[in-house]
């Protein structure tokens, strides 16, 4: 049986100390171990951004392509060889901005891959501009008086676009994130996990404390087979301080 170290490389991540990506890469490797996925039959696909370096620090087949384009690449890989386990990664700028169109259509198409978004509401690698998930009023280098745009609601968008598995996780809680990722990878069809994370460099107000105060996990009282309930749940954070994590919607 594979162990965590089987997925390590000599090179170690160079993300900022305290970056949420450390939690995500740990959760991804643990998911691969716990699901007994081999490094030769798994492909991690990413785009461009801080998050996108994840495949460089994981000993698995990797495809690091263009900004916003991990989904079409991942779908092409899966269509060419359905036996491969394919996990695509995106950032909130990469996946919801640059690659937003691909996201909608990948949801509709329902090809059996997993899509994981590292969502920190800010452009990190270009030094801190507001992203498509930044809250209205967010000040940044390119929104000096505060952003006038509403943040997108990726979970609602995914459900509306026909995704068959929609979940949210928090990068700081690795154990819970692994459980969600395992279910996503095992799901037959397009599975989508939005992972909330902190950016220690440019998004200090959404730090670990911010998330720990708000994040809670959906339990058996949430009927994740019910699309309307799931849809409503994706809007809960708009009128409360609570941030639900877990499986919002699953068709199976």
């Amino acid at each position: 049986m594979a162990e965590l170290k089987d997925f390590n490389r000599t090179e170690i991540p160079n993300w900022c100390p305290g970056c949420g990506n450390y939690g995500i890469i740990a959760a991804v490797k643990k998911t691969l171990v716990e699901l007994s996925l081999s490094n030769e039959n798994t492909v991690l696909v990413s785009g461009v951004g801080c998050f996108a370096k994840l495949p460089y620090w994981t000993k698995v087949n990797g495809f690091v392509g263009l900004h916003g384009r991990s989904l079409p690449v991942a779908q092409g890989i899966k269509l060419a060889n359905p036996k491969l386990n394919v996990i695509a990664f995106g950032g909130d700028g990469d996946g919801y901005g640059e690659g937003g169109n691909h996201f909608i259509h990948a949801c509709r198409r329902n090809i059996n891959i997993t899509y994981v978004i590292h969502n920190n509401s800010v452009f990190g690698l270009t030094t801190g501009q507001y992203s498509p998930t930044a809250e209205k009023g967010r000040k940044s280098k390119t929104s000096l008086s505060g952003s006038t745009e509403l943040p997108i609601n990726p979970l609602a968008l995914a459900i509306a676009s026909g995704a068959t598995f929609v979940a949210r996780a928090y990068a700081g809680n690795i154990k819970e994130t692994v459980e969600i990722l395992k279910k996503a990878v095992e799901h037959k069809g397009f599975s989508f996990v939005d992972i909330l994370q902190s950016c220690v460099a440019y998004q200090n107000h959404k730090n670990k404390d911010y998330y720990l105060e708000r994040v809670y996990y959906l339990d058996e009282n949430h009927d994740f087979h019910n699309k309307s309930i799931a849809f409503e749940k994706t809007m809960e954070h708009e009128s409360s301080d609570k941030l639900a994590c877990g499986i919002f919607y699953s068709k199976s």
Binding site: R9, T10, E11, N39, E40, N41, T42, V43, V45, V48, K53, P55, Y56, K59, V60, N61, G62, F63, V64, G65, L66, R69, L71, P72, V73, A74, Q75, G76, I77, K78, L79, A80, N81, K83, L84, N101, H102, I104, H105
Partner: protein
Amino acid sequence: MVEFVFRVAGEAGMGAATAADLLSAVALRFGYNIFSSKDYASQIRGGHNYHTIRVSNQKVNADVREINILLAFNQESLQKHLEFMSKDGIIIYNSKDECVEKDNLYLFPIDIEKIESELKEKNLLNFIFVGATLKTLGVKWDSIEEIIKQKFAKKTNLEIWKNAVLLGFNQAEKVYDLPDLNQNKNAQLISGNQAIALGALKAGLTFHAQYPMTPVTGILHHLTKEAINNNSLTVIQPEDEISAINMALGASYAGARAMTATSGGGFALMIESVSLAGMAEIPLVIVEGQRPGPATGVPTKTEQSDLKFVINAGHGDFPKVVIAPGSIEECYTETKRSFYLAEKYQLPVLVLIDKHLAESFDTVNLTDIEKDFVFDYDQHVNIIEMVSEKQLNKDGLFKRYASNESSRTIPGTKSGVYTCSGDEHDEVGQIIEDAEIRVKMMDRRMKKMNSILNELPDLEITGSDDAELTIISWGSNKGAIEEAVYLLNQEGKKVNFVIIKYLLPFQSKNVGNVLKRAKKLALIEGNYTAQLGQLITEQTGITFENKLLKFNGQTFTVEEIYREIIKWLN
């Protein structure tokens, strides 16, 4: 020589395409060579559309100006095409329209309304006209009936259509003779789009992703049909061109022989990914079917104005191949070559065509041209299934990008794990910024261009050995120029023709040598800025004083090239 040029003209939706198909089917059955092209507006109903079908007992590959038989579906068609009629030509038209009386023409006005009311059915004009046309050429009813039955076997309207053709047949008289040549039994009438699809399939295509765009949508249609009964072929219509090329790159990385196709605007969207294919060393065949730009341009017409755009497409320096077939047969052969080069050298290969090649039809015998380019279609090229210890780095990753490594693995291969990377990378695909490795990797990629240059066929030159004038051109102009040069050679005029098929890497040495020897040069291109001329000047220092440039959306005809060459000779 037996040769007839038919023109079927009318509004979109009147069935001109069906009439053209039926006339072509008869000519094909009788063993004739056919070249047929269509000129249409960017609208589904209405507008003025016409098909030109050139039928000959000799090989023909080009449009001509003069037509012999006009099937004028409406008044507009009569007015628009009368000036192109040859002496003793035939016009079939609706008796309710008015045709200017002109000497030396055979006119056959046909009372369509009467026939339609007799058959109690509307929209039969195209079938009635085909019947009349075939009668003027002395074709026997038995042959026509047999072809109709075969062509429309599955249609519920078969009987009505057959009767319409027969009633039309009875309205005309025999003027000429189209004898059954009883030859070319294995020839098929295919478009450039079909030729590319067939070439790709022959070369082992397993994945095609394409967003529809004129003039190459036909490729997507042909392959979609093919995929129904071909389990190893996946065809997908994604959300946009960026998705199309990235899906194809993903599939190719995973071991598929992959292709995408588009026109200039769609290719503009794909370009960042072309650069990725060069950097990450992923094989990919991309078909670019030109139409008049810029922007949406004139979407259903033809032009050759993407040459410089395509050879320069992509940020950064990376290896890339651009091939421009000159005929429908070459669309087949060069597509096969493109798959071979893409897979062997792991890079993007562009097949650059235009609307005139994509959507025109030619009689092609695939068995005859199979030998023009052959590789072991069923075997992967430069993909390994076993990786030795020596090929692994200290972490056990495959050194796919090592300087002495020309093979890749596909995911699923034991010990074949590496990172396929758009960032500059080391031997296993790990992201790096080290200056020394960067230079090594640039050398590794760029040296492919020299190896490819050594694999390309020789420059193609036709016509007189001791030519007074040498014509240079590329792409779909080939057929018209070849024919004009042939006619001039027959008349004792010393002209020859150099067709440039391989645009990148450019055979500058060969081209330079041939053109420097020429006594007088003339350039023919379908664009405003003489893009091939610029490329040749850049590569060889040779400049062109004599140019024939066309950018009105129309193709070159044999006659206009002939006339221009005469001018240049004097």
